[in-house]
C-alpha cells in the first residue's frame, strides 16, 4: 500500500506537478513534434512544408475557418479541463471519450423527451449531460480508489462499453424511423444559440470559458480543490492530515467525468443536435494532449484547445490539398505528449544526469 502511494507520487513528480514547469516547455514539445511529424509526412510521400501551409491556411485562413476552429475547440476545452481536474488529484482519466458519449446520451434524452420552455430547457439539458458523465466516471473512480484498479485500463474498457451502448441505442430503441442510425433531434429550446451570425460559432464557447473559470476557482480557491491537489501531490500526507483520500479520488474522477459529459452535451446542443454512432472523432483522447500542453492549468487548457482545434480544422484542408489522412493529427498529438513527458522528466531529473558519473 505504502509503495503504491509513493509510486503514485513519483509518477506525479515526474510530470512536474510538484514544481512549476517552464512555460516554454509546451512550445518546444509542439515544435519538435511538428518537426518529427514532418519526417513522417515526407515518409508518406507528401511535402511537409506544403502540408503545414495547407494546415495553417485551413485552420485560420479566413473568418469562417476561424469560427470553425473555435467551434472545434469547444469540446476540446471542456474535455481538456476534465483531464486536468482528475490529473490534479493524481487520477489519469483517459475515459473522456466514453464520458462524452454518456453526456451526449443524457443530453439527447433531456432534449427529446422533456419539453420545456426556452431558457429552462437548455440549462437542464447541459446539466443532464454532466450527470451522465459524472455517473459514468464515478465507476472507474470508485474502482481505483477503493479497489486499487489501474484507472487507465478501466476507463479504456468503459470507453468501448459506452460507445457500444450508444451504438445499440441509435440502431434500436432511439432510432428515428426512416433515417439512418441516429436519434431524433433535440428541441429548438434545448439548442445553444449562435453567437456570431453567419458562422457556426455557438454559445458553447461561453460555456467552456465559464467552465474554465469555475474549474480554476474550484482547484485553487476552495477547500475541495485544495484537498484534491493535496491528494494528487502526496496522498499519504493528505491521509495523515485527515483528508478522506478515497472520497476525494472518486469525486475528482466523477467531476472530471461531469466536465467531459458537458463536452458531449454542448456538442449535441450546439452542433449536432442528434446522437449518432461515431459521434465523437476522439476528443476524449485529444484531451490528454490538450491537458498536458496546457500545463494542467485551466487557462493553459483553453490555449491548448484552440491550438488542437485549429489542428483538427486545418487537417481537413490538408487532406484535400496534399492527400494526407486526418490521422496525421494523431501523429502530431502523440508526439507532443511524448515530448512533453520527456521534457518534464528532463526538467525534473536533469539531462543525462543518470550517466554513471560515480563509476
Amino acid at each position: 500500500m505504502k509503495s503504491g502511494l509513493s509510486k503514485r507520487l513519483e509518477g506525479l513528480r515526474s510530470i512536474g506537478l510538484g514544481q512549476a514547469l517552464s512555460w516554454t516547455l509546451p512550445i518546444w514539445a509542439v515544435l519538435i513534434a511538428f518537426l518529427a511529424g514532418s519526417v513522417i509526412i515526407a515518409g508518406a510521400g507528401a511535402n511537409p512544408i506544403q502540408a503545414y501551409v495547407a494546415l495553417f491556411r485551413g485552420a485560420v485562413g479566413n473568418g469562417g475557418l476561424v469560427a470553425t476552429t473555435l467551434v472545434k475547440s469547444i469540446p476540446l476545452m471542456l474535455a481538456g479541463l476534465s483531464v486536468v481536474l482528475a490529473y490534479r488529484a493524481s487520477v489519469f482519466n483517459i475515459g473522456g471519450e466514453g464520458q462524452i458519449y454518456m453526456g451526449a446520451l443524457f443530453a439527447v434524452w433531456g432534449g427529446t423527451l422533456l419539453h420545456l420552455p426556452a431558457g429552462v430547457h437548455l440549462p437542464i439539458v447541459l446539466a443532464l449531460g454532466m450527470v451522465g458523465g459524472f455517473l459514468w466516471s464515478a465507476i472507474p473512480g470508485y474502482l481505483k480508489a477503493a479497489r486499487g484498479f489501474n484507472e487507465v485500463i478501466v476507463t479504456i474498457f468503459m470507453n468501448y462499453i459506452a460507445v457500444a451502448i450508444v451504438s445499440y441505442l441509435v440502431h434500436g430503441p432511439m432510432r428515428e424511423s426512416g433515417w439512418n442510425y441516429q436519434s431524433r433531434a433535440v428541441d429548438e429550446s434545448a439548442r445553444l444559440p449562435i453567437i456570431l451570425p453567419g458562422t457556426s460559432l455557438h454559445l458553447g464557447l461561453v460555456v467552456a470559458l465559464a467552465a474554465a473559470v469555475l474549474a480554476h476557482i474550484l482547484l485553487f480557491h476552495t477547500t475541495l480543490g485544495y484537498r484534491l491537489r493535496m491528494v494528487g501531490f502526496n496522498a499519504e500526507a493528505a491521509r495523515y492530515a485527515g483528508v478522506k483520500v478515497t472520497l476525494i479520488t472518486v469525486l475528482a474522477m466523477a467531476l472530471s467525468g461531469a466536465l467531459a459529459g458537458l463536452a458531449g452535451a454542448v456538442e449535441i446542443a450546439g452542433v449536432q443536435f442528434r446522437l449518432l454512432e461515431g459521434f465523437s472523432p476522439g476528443w476524449g483522447f485529444d484531451a490528454i494532449a490538450v491537458a498536458l500542453v496546457g500545463q494542467l492549468h485551466p487557462a493553459g487548457v483553453l490555449l491548448a484547445a484552440l491550438f488542437f482545434g485549429a489542428l483538427r480544422t486545418g487537417a481537413n484542408s490538408m487532406q484535400t490539398a496534399v492527400g494526407l489522412p486526418m490521422v496525421v493529427v494523431q501523429v502530431i498529438q502523440g508526439l507532443t505528449v511524448l515530448f512533453m513527458m520527456i521534457g518534464a522528466a528532463v526538467q525534473h531529473y536533469g539531462l543525462w544526469r543518470p550517466a554513471r558519473r560515480e563509476k
Partner: protein, 313 residues
C-alpha cells in the same frame, strides 16, 4: 434452450476458436509481463501490436510473402520497444502517460502508413497469409486432432514460450536479474546487475512480442489491416498480466479466459441469439473488468512504474 446451450458450449469449434483468439493476446501479455517484472509498466502494448499488425500486412502485401511480413513486424516491434525504452528508461518519463502518448502516436502512424502504402484501395488488397500448420501425426487424431493440432504455427509457439518464460523467470540467472530489477533495482545494481540494460532488453522484447501478436491478427487470421485493428487487445493483454498475478502461468490462464470470452461472443453471434451484437462485442471488456474486480489487489513488482537512475544515492 438447454440443447442450444449445449451446442453452443460443447463443441470443438469453441475450443479451437479459444486457442486461436488467445494467441495474439498471450503474445502481447507475455511481452508485457517480461518488462513488467523488470519494473516497466507497458500500457503501450496496444500501439505496439498495432504497429506489428500494419507492418506485417504491408510487407506481406508488397513482398508477396507472409513470413517476410512477420520478420518486418519483429523488426518494427523492436524499434518501437527501443523508442519506448529511451523515453521511460533513459529519460525516465512517466511510464503510463508516455505509453498513452505512444498509443495515440501509433494509431496515427499506422493510419498514415496504411494510406501511403495501399492508397485508397484498402480492403481490395488482400495480403498473403500465414498457412495453418497441421502437426504431423497428431492432427489426424479423432476429435482432438483438428481442434488442438491444426493451427497457425504461432499458436503452438506461444504456449511453448509461456513455458519457456516460466523457466527463464524462475530457473535462470537472467530471470533472477529481471525479477531483482523489478523488485529492488538498487539492490540489484549492488550485486552487479546492469539495471538499465535489463530494462532496455525487456522493453525491446515486449515490443517484439506485442508486434508478433498484432501480426497474427492482420496476416494470420485476416489478410488485411484496418485502422484500430487491435481494438483494445493490448489493454486486455495488460489486464491479463494483472489478473494472472504477474506470473507466466497466471498470465497464460488469464489470456485463455479472455480468449474464450471472445470466442464465445463470436459463437453466440453466429448462432443468431437475440442479443444485440453491440453487447456481445464488448463482452471481453466486461469480463476483463469483472476479472480485475475478482482479482482484487494483485500486487505487482515493488519497483513497478518507478524510474531508476544508476549510481545515485
Amino acid at each position: 434452450m438447454l440443447e442450444t446451450l449445449q451446442q453452443l458450449l460443447w463443441s470443438g469449434d469453441l475450443i479451437y476458436a479459444t486457442l486461436r483468439l488467445t494467441t495474439p493476446l498471450l503474445f502481447a501479455a507475455l511481452g508485457g509481463l517480461m518488462c513488467e517484472r523488470a519494473g516497466v509498466l507497458n500500457i503501450g502494448l496496444e500501439g505496439m501490436m498495432l504497429g506489428g499488425a500494419l507492418t506485417a500486412y504491408v510487407v506481406a502485401l508488397r513482398m508477396g510473402n507472409p513470413w517476410l511480413g512477420i520478420l518486418a513486424a519483429l523488426f518494427v516491434g523492436a524499434i518501437t520497444g527501443l523508442l519506448f525504452a529511451v523515453v521511460v528508461v533513459t529519460f525516465r518519463a512517466n511510464q503510463i502517460v508516455s505509453a498513452v502518448g505512444m498509443n495515440i502516436l501509433m494509431l496515427g502512424l499506422t493510419g498514415v502508413a496504411l494510406r501511403a502504402a495501399v492508397g485508397l484501395s484498402i480492403g481490395q488488397s488482400p495480403a498473403p497469409t500465414i498457412p495453418i500448420w497441421e502437426i504431423p501425426g497428431l492432427a489426424g487424431l479423432p476429435l482432438i486432432g483438428p481442434v488442438l493440432f491444426a493451427h497457425l504455427p504461432f499458436v503452438y509457439l506461444v504456449f511453448v514460450l509461456a513455458g519457456a518464460m516460466a523457466f527463464i523467470f524462475y530457473r535462470t540467472t537472467w530471470g533472477l536479474a529481471i525479477r531483482a530489477v523489478g523488485e529492488n533495482p538498487r539492490a540489484a545494481e549492488t550485486v552487479g546487475i546492469d539495471v538499465i540494460r535489463v530494462r532496455y532488453a525487456t522493453v525491446v522484447w515486449s515490443g517484439i512480442f506485442a508486434a508478433v501478436g498484432g501480426a497474427i491478427l492482420s496476416i494470420g487470421y485476416l489478410n488485411t489491416f484496418q485502422e484500430g485493428l487491435t481494438a483494445g487487445r493490448g489493454f486486455i493483454a495488460f489486464s491479463a498480466i494483472i489478473f494472472g498475478r504477474y506470473t507466466p502461468l497466471g498470465t497464460l490462464l488469464a489470456s485463455l479466459l479472455f480468449g474464450f470470452t471472445d470466442a464465445l461472443q463470436l459463437r453466440i453471434q453466429a448462432f443468431g441469439v437475440q442479443i444485440p451484437y453491440q453487447f456481445l462485442v464488448v463482452l471481453p471488456y466486461i469480463v476483463t473488468l469483472l476479472a480485475l474486480f475478482v482479482a482484487g489487489r494483485s500486487k505487482g513488482p515493488a519497483a513497478s512504474g518507478l524510474p531508476y537512475a544508476p549510481g545515485e544515492e
